[in-house]
């Protein structure tokens, strides 16, 4: 029974052959694996050493001092702990500005991204030939760091929240556009064909056929982006645009004596980010869970 039923034994010679071939393969694999590992370790260590040498302070000296600065801030803040609530109220309008910048840019960027993503999804595009163009456009929008656009726009438009808003919106358009079009690709084309057969226009097909299918996923990504944009907006404030980042920079630059302000802003920023993080992940779970 055994001989007839278990597959076909391939014979001793063939077995040796397979063993040798496999050993050869294993050796190459091990070699490649080894090389990869060595390359990775070499890259990491040499990168580390290079960064260390090009840095003003060395890693090993610095690591001991990591807590100096937070220590000073905490010390001063705890001495003036009674002032903190008032300071937090003082900086609250700046925080609102930062959040407004994030919200406006997410909205504007998201709305444009919707259009661009529809235009650049195969099967949905209004002008199939221009898909490549719209995709490259989004790639470039994604590639430009917000800070560049913001600073250039400050030169043209003057200070204020608008340059930051435009800069973040631009990046958001590119980033969300790509994600949206990935979602769009998974949308079923059947309802679209159904609508097309009734003589619906492109806009009607998109709005009635695609949007209901993909909106929850869009919204979930947009929420995630909103959270990211709050951070970006704070950072832009730090390098020249308005909002809480600007206050942080001034307080922090002045240093000792205003560390209570620094602490107040840190706390505001931290709470805001955690708040929106939790909010957005809550809604995302809800939205995507429903799908």
């Amino acid at each position: 029974m055994a001989e007839t039923t278990i597959g076909q034994s391939v014979g001793a010679e063939r077995t040796t052959e397979i063993q040798d071939a496999y050993m050869a393969m294993t050796r190459t694999k091990r070699m490649y694996g080894g090389i990869m590992l060595v390359i990775f370790i070499a890259l990491m260590t040499s990168g580390f050493m290079l960064a260390d040498s090009r840095n003003a302070g060395g890693f090993w000296d610095g690591i001991l001092n990591v807590f100096n600065f937070p220590g000073e801030v905490v010390k001063e803040a705890s001495e003036k702990i009674t002032l903190l609530p008032a300071l937090m109220v003082k900086f609250f309008p700046s925080l609102i500005e930062t959040i407004n910048i994030a919200a406006a840019s997410t909205l504007v960027g998201g709305l444009i991204a919707i259009v661009l993503s529809l235009l650049s999804t195969r099967g949905l595009a209004r002008f199939p030939r221009l898909i490549g163009l719209f995709r490259r456009l989004m790639d470039i929008m994604r590639a430009i760091p917000e800070i560049v656009v913001a600073l250039v726009l400050i030169f043209v438009l003057g200070g204020g929240p608008v340059p930051a808003m435009i800069a973040i919106a631009l990046h958001t358009t590119g980033a969300l556009g790509k994600l949206f079009s990935e979602i769009n690709e998974n949308a079923s084309l059947k309802p679209l064909e159904g609508l097309e057969s009734t003589g619906a226009t492109w806009a009607q097909r998109m709005l009635l056929g695609v949007v209901p299918q993909v909106a929850p996923n869009w919204l979930s990504y947009a929420l995630l982006r909103f959270e990211i944009n709050i951070r970006a907006s704070a950072i832009l404030g730090f390098v020249g645009s308005g909002g809480i980042g600007y206050d942080l920079k001034n307080a922090f630059s002045w240093g000792q004596g205003r560390y209570d302000e620094v602490a107040a802003i840190f706390i505001l920023l931290f709470l805001t980010i955690v708040f929106f993080d939790q909010l957005s992940s809550h809604y995302r779970n809800k939205l995507v869970g429903k799908v």
Partner: protein, 280 residues
Amino acid sequence: QDSISEFRIGILGGENAQDRMTSNECYRAKAEELLGVPVKLFTPADYDGVIQGLVGGSIDMAWLGASGYAKAYLTDPDAIEPIMVKTNLDKSFGYHSIGFARKDSGITSLDDMKGKVFAFGDPNSTSGYLIPSIEIPQATGASMESGDYFGEVKFVGGHEQTIVAVANGDVDAGVTWADGMGDWEDGYNSGALRKASDAGLVDMNELVEIWKSKPIPEGPIVLRKDLPERVKLDITTLTASLPYMDADCAYSFMAGEALGFQPIDHDDYISIIEARKSKM
């Protein structure tokens, strides 16, 4: 510890990072030759970056403003010591904070500035913040809080940004530094206005001076206190003799015409430190 493995010089803002590197390259090369260890230049993004570096020990030498020195001293009195100060052609070592506005705005003095937008430079700048923030309230009789006398008071980040912001009309007036000698139309003999005018950034015809501070002591060149004595001595000697050794190098290192350097110590900055303390 009596030896170092490298020597790190921090350079304050005011020009873009590349130009800062270029202007100080000859000094770096001389220091490297003298000290026999690699000398590196660092150009942090703002005043505070340099001060943090000095206090944190990651930068060994820098040329600070008076207020910057005060800040470093107040943060850690044992971190750095001043060694030299630049002397002007007339042997004084001071400069002024200058308030200025656009000519077509009709503003000619602080009196016209009521309710208008006023700009400081960097919070750690002596002429761009500390001194005007003390002397201007004395002149106006009101605080510098937004809405108190001025409509709004803000920091635009640095001398160049102040000049550009005023020229663009983003703010109504701002303060920056100049030696106060020579002609207004040239932007004085030296200072931020001169540099901006030379660079074609602004047309001095379009600006007017609206306020001028009392003389401010020039900022010191500082070294970290725990550097080996030998190193301190070498650097002091090198700096002091720079104008005689290599005039071109001294010119670019000192950002303009100046007589040279003279030694200075902590006591010359006590008043500035007090001024800064009063703002805390």
